[in-house]
């Protein structure tokens, strides 16, 4: 498939690949509704790699589950998610299915549960191509084999005939990555792709994602709770807390000059294998607010050492330059 010509044409296209505007996701329960994503806006440019970082309850996964239409029945979504000019939230099932899996694909955290256990790898890969591109099964299988080679799966032909449980975790994740690339997507969403893997395999998968990005040129969203994983790949990093984007900066800027107090604390809390040994680990007191406790205030105020009265009554908006935006009344200065 012609990749080289595609990347040059992509740089000329200035429309954002994915554009999220004031997205709100809440889950209705007997006791009320729980807000998971609170009026989030972001944009992913073509061929850009964006890291989305946050802890549990930050809503980082829910944004993209909303985009892919994978939210459960009790979810209420408002706002807009535009992909390549189409409003995803307004698409009906057949139209959405044409986009999902071909131009907009997702890699999940646990490949064991996202691969169908009773179908062979080759069948699952070929199915994607037959469904979206209308090629014959024979062509689809041979292309699947070549794609497995490109993601460095050893003995690809043998793997095509194996079942998911016969592969190791790292191998399964490579198969997932291959599956997401089959139809030349414009955007691949990787939701914690390395969290369930060993650290040595994690390093390999990160390398693979880097190589694949270079080769295919698609935009990549990398969701993770681990800033270090995101650091190696992302052009831009969004930090999320309690359903809000609190910082949106170019990667290098974020690490050099974090502007939101939460980002600074997060960076401090991540122990490293180098540097001096600490008698006590840096920590952040308290815990993230449970979803559903969102008020008109800065969600981080209860845990912030810089919180003032204004923070407790007024929710800060994202503001700043293209290189660095922060949602804080008293952002850190460099």
């Amino acid at each position: 498939m012609a990749c080289a010509t595609r990347s040059t044409s992509r740089t000329a296209d200035m429309t954002a690949t994915l554009s999220v505007d004031r997205l709100r996701v809440s889950f209705s329960h007997r006791t009320g509704s729980i807000d998971a994503v609170d009026r989030v806006s972001l944009e992913i440019a073509p061929s850009e790699c964006v890291g989305i970082v946050g802890e549990s309850g930050s809503g980082k996964t829910q944004i993209f589950m909303a985009a892919m239409g994978l939210l459960p029945r009790n979810a209420q979504v408002s706002g807009s998610v535009r992909f390549a000019g189409n409003e995803l939230l307004a698409l009906d099932a057949p139209a959405l299915n044409r986009v999902r899996g071909s131009k907009l694909t997702m890699i999940f955290q646990d490949p064991m549960t996202s691969l169908t256990p009773h179908l062979k790898i080759g069948t699952q890969l070929a199915e994607v191509m037959v469904a979206h591109l209308g090629v014959s099964w024979k062509d689809a299988r041979s292309f699947a084999g070549r794609m497995l080679e490109r993601v460095h799966v050893p003995e690809p032909q043998r793997r095509l005939n194996q079942y998911p449980h016969e592969l190791s975790g790292g191998m399964r994740q490579r198969v997932m990555i291959a599956m997401s690339l089959l139809c030349e997507p414009s955007l691949v969403i990787a939701d914690e792709p390395t969290t369930a893997l060993d650290v040595t395999i994690q390093a390999q998968i990160i390398e693979l994602l880097r190589a694949v990005r270079g080769e295919f040129g698609m935009a990549l969203v990398l969701i993770s709770h681990d800033l270090a994983v995101v650091a190696g790949l992302a052009d831009r990093i969004l930090v999320m807390y309690a359903g809000n984007v609190v910082e949106n900066s170019i990667a290098a800027e974020l690490f050099r000059h974090p502007r939101h107090p939460y980002t600074a604390e997060l960076l401090k809390c991540m122990p490293s294998v180098s540097g001096p040994r600490l008698a006590r680990l840096p920590t952040l007191a308290g815990q993230p607010p449970r979803p559903g406790e969102l008020l008109e205030a800065c969600p981080f105020a209860p845990r912030c050492s810089r919180a003032a009265d204004r923070c407790r009554i007024e929710r800060p908006q994202l503001s700043g330059s293209a290189a660095s935006q922060v949602a804080c009344h008293f952002p850190l200065t460099s």
Binding site: S168, V199, D226, A231, Q287, S305
Partner: protein
């Protein structure tokens, strides 16, 4: 053997059917020590922990706790020893009985080992323990599902600590927690570590192990491949697998963190990371961008002789195929199981 040796594990082997998971592990633990046990999936570290506690039956070997071999003693004697040997599990919620209140869960060891205690005295102890782990004593009537992951882990620690054990095994206790909470739990452990209590801290997170432990054991496919004091392991790892592990940890560009000026009354933030810029990985990586351990922890034919790591080792020699290197002391207190350890120590390392 030191007088304050708490635990001696000798030639421990555990197999599930034909599959050998722990293949001959030897180590010792002294009172007051915090020892890290690192390894990836398939290393057998969790199985090792369960074997030490005799939650499963090893095929061979001995586990001497204060002189008594736990694997060979009668069930009654074993149960009596359990009060000194406790464990905290990885999944905070799963290790708590969903049908019991947290107060009842924490009180259970008291009911077993101190049956003479009155209900009031027991309640008091439970309340005290809850406060020690940072929770209010009023929550003892609640159920596990009402708590967050970090709080559940505190409850698990409370249960393990209520009888003041001499040895606490922590099996990946922070792996399922948010980063900002991990520090809380680890610091709690440091606070609770009474004089003389030893901790065996099992983790795949090398960074946490680095800050917590005096000594580190590295495990690969059922065997210990390196044992070293913590500083020595991270500064000059000897075994190729340890080097690969350290190289694989993703770096974060640790700049001089723009430290928030502390609020009045708050102590200055401890733990300022080192100088700005990238920090070099200890040891040398062959090619930029290439990781040191290609391939996977595959289902190796473990009955074959030779080093288990040879298929992934960039420095393997023909001798590695035929002879399984023994764990040898290469420096004071520093042991490694590699045929080429002396080369590493001398700073030479040529890819074969």
């Amino acid at each position: 053997m030191l007088n304050n040796t708490l635990l001696r594990v000798r030639d421990l082997r555990v197999a599930f059917g034909a599959h050998a998971v722990v293949r001959g592990v030897n180590f010792e633990l002294s009172a007051g020590e915090t020892v890290g046990l690192v390894g990836e999936s398939g290393s057998g570290k969790s199985t090792l922990a369960r074997a030490i506690l005799r939650l499963l039956q090893p095929a061979q070997g001995s586990v001497e706790f204060l002189g008594l071999d736990l694997l060979k003693c009668a069930p009654e004697a074993l149960r009596a020893q359990r009060r000194g040997l406790q464990i905290v599990f990885q999944d905070p919620l799963a290790s708590l009985d969903p049908r019991m209140t947290v107060g009842e869960t924490i009180a259970e060891p008291l009911k077993v080992f101190e049956p003479g205690l009155s209900a009031g005295a027991r309640r008091q102890k439970v309340g005290d323990m809850l406060q020690r782990v940072g929770l209010s004593s009023e929550v003892s009537g609640r159920y596990p599902h009402e708590f967050s992951g970090g709080q559940c882990q505190r409850i698990g620690i409370a249960r393990a600590m209520i009888l003041s054990p001499k040895l606490l095994i922590c099996d990946e206790i922070v792996s399922s927690l948010d980063v900002s909470i991990q520090g809380q739990i680890v610091n709690l452990l440091l606070d609770l570590q009474d004089a003389g209590m030893a901790v065996l801290f099992i983790s795949h997170n090398l960074a946490v192990v680095r800050h917590l432990c005096h000594r580190v054991l590295v495990m690969y496919l059922g065997k210990l491949v390196e044992i070293a004091p913590c500083d020595a392991l991270f500064a000059s790892p000897v075994h190729p697998y340890t080097r690969a592990l350290l190289a694989a940890v993703p770096h974060m560009p640790h700049a001089a963190v723009a430290a928030a000026p502390a609020a009045p009354g708050e102590p200055a933030s401890s733990g300022e990371p080192a100088a700005s810029g990238e920090v070099d990985t200890p040891g040398e990586v062959d090619t930029p961008g290439e990781v040191d351990a290609p391939g996977e922890v595959a289902a190796l034919d473990l009955t074959a002789s030779g080093c288990a790591f040879r298929d992934r080792c960039p420095y393997a020699l023909p001798v590695c195929e035929t002879s399984d290197p023994p764990l040898l002391e290469v420096a004071p207190g520093h042991w490694a199981a590699c045929h080429r350890s002396h080369e590493t120590l001398n700073g030479l390392f040529c890819a074969s």
